[in-house]
Symmetry: C2
Subunit: 315 residues, 2 copies
Amino acid sequence: MSTSARMLRLLSLLQTHRYWPGGELSARLEVSDRTLRRDIDRLRELGYAVDAVRGVSGGYQLRAGGSLPPLLLEDEEAVAIAVGLRQAASGSVAGMEETSVQALTKVIALMPPRLRRQMDALRSQTDAPGPWGGGPQVDAGLLTVLAQACRDDEPLHFGYVARGADPTERWVEPHRLVSIGRRWYLVAYDRDRQDWRSFRVDRISEPRATGQRFRPRELPGGDALAFVQAGIRQRPQRYAVRVRLAAPVEQVRRAVGHWGQVAADGDGSLLEMNVDDLQWPVMVLAQVGAPIEVESPPELAEALARVGRIFSSAT
Amino acid sequence: MSTSARMLRLLSLLQTHRYWPGGELSARLEVSDRTLRRDIDRLRELGYAVDAVRGVSGGYQLRAGGSLPPLLLEDEEAVAIAVGLRQAASGSVAGMEETSVQALTKVIALMPPRLRRQMDALRSQTDAPGPWGGGPQVDAGLLTVLAQACRDDEPLHFGYVARGADPTERWVEPHRLVSIGRRWYLVAYDRDRQDWRSFRVDRISEPRATGQRFRPRELPGGDALAFVQAGIRQRPQRYAVRVRLAAPVEQVRRAVGHWGQVAADGDGSLLEMNVDDLQWPVMVLAQVGAPIEVESPPELAEALARVGRIFSSAT
DNA sequence: GTCATTCAGGACACTTTCTGTCCGCAATCA
DNA sequence: TGATTGCGGACAGAAAGTGTCCTGAATGAC
């Protein structure tokens, strides 16, 4: 076995069990104990912190060091990571979406097909929306295809349905993915229209990479996020929810999480949140289970009344 | 730079941008083009699939191969992975909990302190319970401490509050973590009581690893899962929810996700789910927003009626 | 304290690998 | 057709890796 391969193997061993007597390591790597010590030294020179314990039942272990060593993952671990990232990328973790997609793309691109199949098999279970799922679900598979095309400078074909328009076929040079709120946008140079456009990812269908490459252009202004924001003229109608609750702040906050602001209001609480969809606050209020006074919007009061009727007449 | 280090560097380069002209690579690694070709060959011998394109604007790229190459992650990517896995480990992804914890432990153990701090900083945002948060939230940080102690055979001190008992201090040899339903259990040998015990993780506090190690004992029967299941005599009271809804199956299923079974029932749907906590079905039913007929349990009907009154009287 | 165990690391001789330079060949694209 | 880029053999010198010594130091069992 070559030195490089052996070093990787050693790193892998140190990562899995964390604590190894030197004899065991040298046996597994089929080298003398001296060489093992040298290998350990090499790892240390590469910046990885390998601790050693001397004496009876001494041994080596990898400690967290200054930089993250190459992660050597078992198959299931890789799948778990991909699944977890997929969740994070589809917005279940605030603020991590873009980095998650980036990491996910990297993992997916390197995954052997069998692992990818395994991951897809888990998809039906994991992508299920659940009660909280509001708004169009983002397809993590789609995201990774787009992210990969951005990274590799590969031109893309895809179908696109613009707001209130007929389906069109696009042929673009993808530039960047941007996540705003709960939506994803692809900033790309449209080859047919010869101009920069931003596309809502949930309206993109059947992306086809060509395997070719293009020379990256420079986005005017350079800031993809600003470009997308400038493009969003009409925001979807939003509700500014403002509700008084006869329950202690703590209780309300536990139900709301970070999806809204909760303030004290006498003995009760004042809840404020901004949402696209009223089902969200309805669910929150159902969980709090305390008397409610809706200040705004009126639509929320109507929604509550409707659900109230249904619930009251439920046998 | 040593050969091993250069190989890792090359692998890293191939992972980040995916497509590189040979000249660029050899320049970055400060070696001749010939050596670069040899390095590429070495990678191929190690089992990594490196594609090459000849001719003008040719180059190299890493393809998904037979095995997952060592993942070389940027700092933010590592953090994203840790955050995503944390979510998955706390049960947001069904069936992946144990593997997620395993992968998470590996990543955390290798993370430099600065990344760990960064991750913890994100914790306040990501761990927020939100409207769906039913039941005690599992602390992923706690889980990784326990998982690591299991892996490294390190004895643990921790505080424990058994069901309906006073707080006690435990001194155990941790064996395995087991996830059942939405709960986590630690199977360990209790040194003071000199016997095997299973501990509910959400009742464990302040685990302290000692840095020592113990010689692993063999769990009688060998099956940690069976051991825990045998220990759970009295299950918490559960509700078998059975509800008829005047809404098409599709709509109901979208709201329910995989948290319950939905079947067609004439024009409407029949929803069945098993829960510990009735707030869950209440929220689901609030989202569906269709007329309801509760078959069981009676407690659900009461809960709905209570929420219905509150909603109806919300100004 | 004594002793066995285990990691640490210098020295040396030997082997192997690695590297750069040279070369002709093959594939690709303008 | 010619320019560009990857492929890979050959070769000699440089560099490294390796095993076998050795002594030292820390640790824990007795």
